[in-house]
Subunit: 502 residues, 2 copies
């Protein structure tokens, strides 16, 4: 007779099969699905998600989980029970009616958001957004929290993270970043990146970005790259990881989009083979995931050594660029300029965009800001932190998809990823001081191997805070990021100022 | 409170979502999936198929089906209950252990078949094939049959069809076809088709075949065409129909592969919108389905009027062909020559290949032939009907994938499709005598509209035999096919002989 643990694993295999199907349907929807397929796809996705949810939250799962506790003998099995127990508690804490309402509202909200954004008409979206925030509040109450309502929501995306930590993180970042941006603007040394915009043949963009992602170690026999309007990375097992990228007049969209998604992809491909198709496979949290996409996109991909290696290849692919020297190219891909849109923001201003969203989410959740006043609050903060004011809400508070999906409490994980990418780099350089030289030679294996050993091979088995401690010897902080960012941009913009304390 | 019929429909929506996911996984497996994804995909497909099966065969489905009988008020609902009742009875007649064994054996058999084919080593495959035929025998006993064990298996693919009908059908075809092949060979007027082989750029093959399938009316907003090693058509709803094709040195593979699959695709796209995601949507049987793929591939696609319209376009795409005149091109794409392989066979010899498989299946199922003697029997029949002897079993009895999948009783539907394509044409020409002129002008709408009205709009609601009667006024027969084929090839090969009675 099979043990409860064995039966639980069989049950998880079923939900894994369903969620893999759901992911494939999502991937197809964004890449190849003809327009006509949309209605049936939405219907099918809804039904399969419901089936997966019902199997997972059923009382049988709960009973098996409980009985299996005493059967777990290996560390792996204990980790599995921990991870599954956590999701089970999260999923079962919400009343079925609330889950159903959120699911219906999300579908409706997404459409309303698309229309509102197109028409730059926040008012039409406000009532739905209002209800979405109310649902988030209700969810948080069901999940429970000790200090701040935000904690309950953030924890869904980043286990154990709290609003207090986010406040501390942003408090540490805010002053130095605003200061750095000002220094860059006042330096009068803005870089010229106009040569990055042109008529780049799509097939060459595809070839070159594939060369890059293969180059850093993404295995094409266990993954592929396709084209999607909004790049993402998804996977159906650790041996089938799908990247997407997009081809735009500005060449950097494809290059850094591909490297970013490949960073997510390397993390997924790096899970232990024995854990494939189990809840222990794959990245452990959004923050850690983003640290990997940002590591490969920014720390590796926007470094001078990287282009020391790849610029000749780029120029071979696009002869129009043959007159551009390394220094000019490096400065162009690292141009810092306050802008309206988070997804187009540079490494320095990006976290200020996130800060605005964090502050607004907290303010609405705690009743300090009404949804109807969101545009004014947004614009005021944009002016305060970035010195720019959105000309309309489409380019302002309607720009992100997250809230329409009910993903409230998600944004800070972007900044956590940025911080952690530098914190992991600092730890890596203890073991591997010559990262720059390796990158310049195009030898990414030692770097990838380090990340695999320290992070990827842990899959989801170690909670994010513990993982950060294990890998870097300290909790997440802003110092490595600030030091790295300041050093880099003081050099690029030849800033003559006292080094920032970090 | 929802009615039993309503509850049954909800249940069917779940199995529809699962089978749509399974189809997407299958499509992806053949088109884009990286090598590494194979193991997880097989695992996921197995689990989802099992889930769909369990939901469908559960006693709840049976009870709902029974109670719903008295609730059906529309003709549609009655058709739905008939169709679902039939599948339910089929699925529940088999013991779970037998279904599981077949599923396991199929996976094993497929691999064994691939290896045996590569090594042309029938002996290594024989024991598994032996068991596969035993399973088919057991299945047939569970399904039950009145006259011939073959009837029970054939009925799975073609409702109501019998071995006796197949025997009659082949008896009618055999003599005239062998006679026609002999006359062609003795005419000394073999056509030259070497100019069809060349180095055709893949993207141009893609463009041209897309032009063709769009041209005949396949809607790309509700479907698409990709590349696969063995072309197929699948769909995830009637508004998301996926064709595949392949690009080979011989240009006809892409052209007629695409037209063939587009024929299947047009049938699927043509179901009533109201029936989407229900068991009433989509083609009713394999024979009727094949009649549509063959109609568009052969009757339309290999006709002279079709190339009167498309040859200039083809020559524009492939300037190498600009010296080829219509008559030469038409003769080349209709070259008749006995060959070793069914899938490469021409319109005339094709059904003789099917006949051999039908006779062998019957002989093994009734114990008249032992699996170990299959190669000899195969080769003897090839020699007798086609005058060619396979040099090895890879090009002989190991060529088809069907038996390794346990699809025994499937082959005759290919010939039914060929016959029905001509029978439907004859009926169409009663209403629309000018089909040739329409095709020559590239005006396929009236032809497609006729097929939609008479066949596609019926979905699966009318059983195949009844459908044939409704559309053509008579049961399926060989006369229209024989008359059409003889007329066409007597013309092409300038045969001087008494017209065949048909």
């Amino acid at each position: 007779m099979p043990s409860s643990l064995e039966l639980l694993k069989r049950r998880l295999a079923e939900t894994n099969a369903l969620s893999s199907a759901i992911s494939l349907m999502g991937w197809d929807q964004q890449t190849y699905m003809p327009r006509g397929g949309a209605e049936a796809r939405a219907e099918h996705l809804g039904l399969l998600s419901q089936m997966a949810h019902e199997i997972f939250v059923s009382s049988e799962t709960g009973e098996l989980l409980e009985k299996a506790q005493s059967e777990a003998e290996s560390e792996e099995d204990r980790a599995l029970l921990r991870v599954v127990g956590r999701s089970y508690r999260q999923s079962t804490k919400l009343p079925v009616a609330l889950v159903a309402e959120k699911s219906r509202l999300s579908a409706q909200a997404h459409e309303a958001w698309v229309e509102a954004k197109e028409a730059s008409d926040f008012k039409s979206f406000a009532p739905i957004l209002e209800r979405m925030f109310e649902i988030a509040r209700e969810e948080a109450e069901h999940f429970g929290y000790e200090h701040h309502i935000y904690d309950a929501l953030l924890d869904l995306y980043e286990e154990g993270a709290t609003a207090a930590e986010c406040e501390a993180m942003f408090a540490e970042l805010r002053g130095p970043l605003i200061e750095l941006v000002r220094a860059i603007q006042e330096s009068g040394r803005q870089t010229d990146d106009r040569f990055l915009t042109g008529d780049w043949p799509r097939d060459k963009q595809a070839d070159f970005t594939e060369l890059l992602v293969r180059g850093i170690g993404f295995e094409m026999s266990r993954g592929r790259q396709d084209v999607a309007p909004h790049p993402f990375c998804t996977n159906f097992s650790i041996n089938d990881v799908r990247l997407t990228t997009r081809f735009m007049p500005n060449l950097t969209y494809a290059i850094f989009g591909s490297l970013h998604e490949a960073g997510h992809g390397l993390y997924e491909q790096g899970s232990p083979q024995a854990w494939d198709r189990t809840p222990l496979a794959g990245g452990v949290s959004l923050g850690i995931h983003e640290s990997q996409s940002r590591f490969w996109e920014n720390i590796v991909g926007r470094s001078k050594p990287f282009w020391q290696h790849y610029l000749p290849e780029l120029q071979k692919t696009f002869p129009q660029l043959s007159g551009v020297d390394l220094a000019t190219f490096y400065r162009a891909i690292n141009r810092v300029e306050p802008s309206l849109t988070r997804v187009e923001a540079d490494e320095v201003t990006y976290n200020l965009h996130v800060l605005i969203r964090f502050e607004i989410e907290c303010a609405i959740l705690t009743g300090k800001l009404r949804v109807s006043d969101l545009p004014e609050a947004w614009n005021a903060k944009m002016e305060e932190y970035l010195g720019v004011t959105p000309p309309d809400d489409a380019r302002g508070c309607l720009q992100d998809v997250h809230w329409s999906m009910g993903s409230i409490g998600y944004f800070p994980t972007y900044t956590m990823g940025n911080l952690l990418s530098f914190q992991f780099l600092a730890a890596m350089q203890q073991d591997l001081p010559e990262t720059d030289a390796l990158i310049a030679e195009g030898r990414f294996e030692p770097i990838l191997r380090w990340l695999q050993e320290k992070i990827y091979q842990k899959g989801s088995s170690v909670p994010p805070k513990e993982l950060v401690l294990q890998v870097t010897g300290k909790p997440m902080g802003a110092s490595d990021y600030l030091a790295g960012i300041c050093r880099k941009y003081e050099d690029i913009y030849e800033l003559d100022r006292a080094p920032v304390k970090a």
